[in-house]
Symmetry: C2
Subunit: 460 residues, 2 copies
């Protein structure tokens, strides 16, 4: 129990002195955020003071926000004391990373309003009540059968993939799957798209894989560069390249597949936002046309359900399933069983498809609204509006003398965090300057106008 | 839509023929478990048959259990057809891995009866109702602040560790943390205990780390072998070595710490079952005596909450926090936010400590009951009972002419899956033969007698 010598308090009222003692302990870290304080009654008895004194001391700390009362549970340290015992504001940085004050135009977070939180909570409650043992049963390496079956059925129906649930491997998000893939292909050099999603390069590099950034042409990964590179594996996103939005046309897809077949190479088809397909009728996936067992299909629920869920999956060609298990089967499945069960019900109950339809509609509408707002703004003469289309990301090429670094600085002055195509290049000077990357899915609809008027000021 | 040529049905009733067609598609995998069948009305219209025909065909499949009706949602393929179109039972193996029929004496699963499922479900429901946005908020790389604070407060109180929440890194289970650690120390050779937990060697090897298995002496990792090895990092479990149960005494701990300080090496202190401490008053942890910033402390909730939870954590020395973030901070935290919030409440609400007390008591009692049952059995003259103590694992040295392989085979005949100390050795012939490894925590109390009488038959 907390013990303070209250005799040294001088002329300060007892409750103030007690709150100073508590605050000092919070400041010093002796009491940390999340620690429970003794009940008022227990502390009063322990220190031999009245309940009113403890009440008032706790009240001061509550007012300052460094203690919080949780109904029926008591008092907890809520944040490091913001004022020192002298009542002065503390200079030390707050522990929580500061909430971003800038409006991020290429954020990775979904628009919170679209997440079916109530439904998800209901499914979770249902799993917990119908199958409490779900919390205790570890999933096998490949993931829970229920979820693998649900994903396989979904892919058969919506992507025309011909697969069995046994080919599906569940992983704790795309990055973890990149890591496992790098270990599966240990020693092989892996070609990646440049510009591209930086995490892919980072994970492969951290895993010790030789990572070869290759340029894009208008149809996706340059085939001639791939042939020259000597890479054994190509990691590509033909459905909708990030960040350029390039959709790889069918002849290139076939040529890439030919490359894999003729060289004995493998393709990792990263369909990270394939559900937002850039067209009404998406092209066949590489995995769908693969008869040679040379394509690993990969996707995640981060763009469609929640990035906080951390669930992604691979579809292995049948011929690699045994080798995968042999090389990596010792790893436990890193996704909690509860989440897997809830997601399985979300998909097999048909909720996922309905939710996707809502997301696609919202993304289309936001994209259209953003383009309309730009057309009606002072940006119109200098912004090259993209082709109409779907997809989450949008590239906006600006006719501006500002360098990307200057534009970024000016963006911050006007409350915007800007991303540029050049940010995603592996090597400087590689990607075109003056091209903004905007993620329509992450931008709340209510802030579109703020984004456009901010951009107008940046490029005025 | 499913399309069948119903003209070829011969003399079979239409509804039977239709059910045969559907069953064949389920058998072949064209329709897989979880797939939704067309509504009865839609299929009747599509095939040009009456609703009654479809009704009757679905009814047959429902009776067989290979289709299920979900209220207000329709008909779903429920299991691969169990009988072929000829009505014969199918020989094909079921898709689910078979439930283990053998009683595993060294299982990794907790005794299900001890998991506080109702409380966990209640906390989950509370997070979902109080903070539905929790499902959407990604955790930063290091994990959610609430959970890091809760773990830090717990370690300060129960382990006497002097740490700030900022030093805690949350990871998706111990294996994922091994993987990150291997990447953090990329290029360094890592000494591991032999015999030891095989996953440690497997993960380090898969991550490309040079992994050096070193022998143990009676006090843990051999210091002279460590000094000769040239390893830069030592991964050890001084609190309770797995599987030998050795507790590293204080002088050896200090010597190991001296090794790290004088060579510039690092120690990974793996406290995987530290909560079951082999003594009443556990020895200070290496992290607790580390003033040089050379010890990374690591533990998991798999032994104490649930292996299906997949949450573990590291405590970095303060001086490594910046470097860790620089090298690995690009990884997202792979644990879903919901689980992190629930676990944070479980710990900070005081439930975790109470739960641990129950687990420890159960493990002590089971250990005592197991020893008593062995003493009262025909095994008594040939089994060297271990010293009294706590801890989850127990070693039983047998005076037997049977080789471990022979004993294992005989165990299977008598319904037991046996593990031996020799199973955990990196190199054959390294660890002593004839020593059983038993995990008291995983063994249900109701099956202790079955285990002992089975062992008596094996070694009779």
């Amino acid at each position: 129990m907390l013990t303070y010598d209250l005799s040294g308090r001088g002329r300060a009222p007892l409750y103030e002195y007690l709150s100073d003692c508590l605050r000092r302990d919070i400041l010093s870290g002796r009491l940390a955020v999340g620690d429970r304080l003794p009940s008022r009654r227990a502390l009063a008895e322990h220190l031999g003071v009245s309940l009113i004194t403890v009440d008032a001391a706790y009240g001061l700390l509550l007012d300052e926000g460094c203690v919080e009362a949780r109904p029926r549970r008591g008092y907890y340290v809520a944040s490091p004391a913001l004022r020192g015992p002298d009542g002065q504001a503390r200079a030390e940085a707050p522990r929580e990373p500061e909430a971003p004050r800038l409006l991020r135009l290429a954020g990775s977070r979904m628009d919170a309003g679209l997440f079916p939180a109530a439904l998800w909570a209901r499914l979770t409650r249902r799993v917990l009540s119908e199958d409490p043992d779900a919390l205790l049963r570890s999933a096998p390496h490949e993931g829970l059968t229920e979820l693998r079956e649900a994903i396989a059925a979904y892919l058969r129906g919506s992507k025309g993939l011909d697969l069995r649930a046994e080919q599906v491997i569940i992983g704790a998000g795309a990055e973890f799957l990149y890591l496992l893939t790098a270990q599966f292909f240990a020693g092989a050099s892996i070609a990646v798209e440049d510009p591209g999603y930086p995490k892919i390069r980072q994970v492969y590099a951290a895993a010790g894989a030789g990572c070869i950034p290759l340029p894009l042409d208008g149809r996706g990964l340059s085939l001639s560069a791939l042939e020259r590179s000597g890479a054994a594996v190509a990691h590509i996103s033909p459905a909708h390249q990030f960040p350029t939005g390039i959709v790889t046309p069918m002849p290139r897809r076939l040529a890439l597949h030919d490359w894999a077949r003729s060289t004995g190479g493998y393709i990792i088809e990263d369909d990270y936002d394939g559900e937002f397909g850039a067209r009404q009728r998406p092209l066949p996936t590489l995995a769908g046309i693969d008869r040679a067992g040379r394509v690993i299909y990969m996707s995640t629920f981060s763009q469609t359900v929640s990035p906080a869920l951390r669930i992604g999956f691979l579809v292995l060609p049948e011929r690699l399933c045994g080798l995968w298990r042999e090389r990596l089967g010792f790893y436990s499945c890193a996704v909690p069983s509860l989440e897997q069960q809830v997601l399985a019900r979300f998909i097999s109950g048909g909720y996922y498809e309905r939710h996707l339809n809502r997301l696609r509609k919202a993304a289309r509408e936001k994209r259209a609204a953003l383009c309309a707002a730009i057309e009606a703004s002072p940006l119109a003469p200098i912004a090259a509006l993209p082709e109409p289309g779907a997809g989450v990301h949008l590239l906006l090429r600006m006719d501006t003398p500002l360098s990307d670094a200057e534009a970024r600085r000016r963006g911050e002055e006007h409350g915007l965090a800007l991303s540029f195509l050049s940010d995603y290049a592996a090597s400087p000077g590689h990607a075109a300057q003056h091209t903004l990357v905007i993620n329509c899915a992450a931008l709340p609809a209510s802030r579109l106008n703020e984004a456009v008027s901010g951009l107008a000021k940046v490029f005025a």
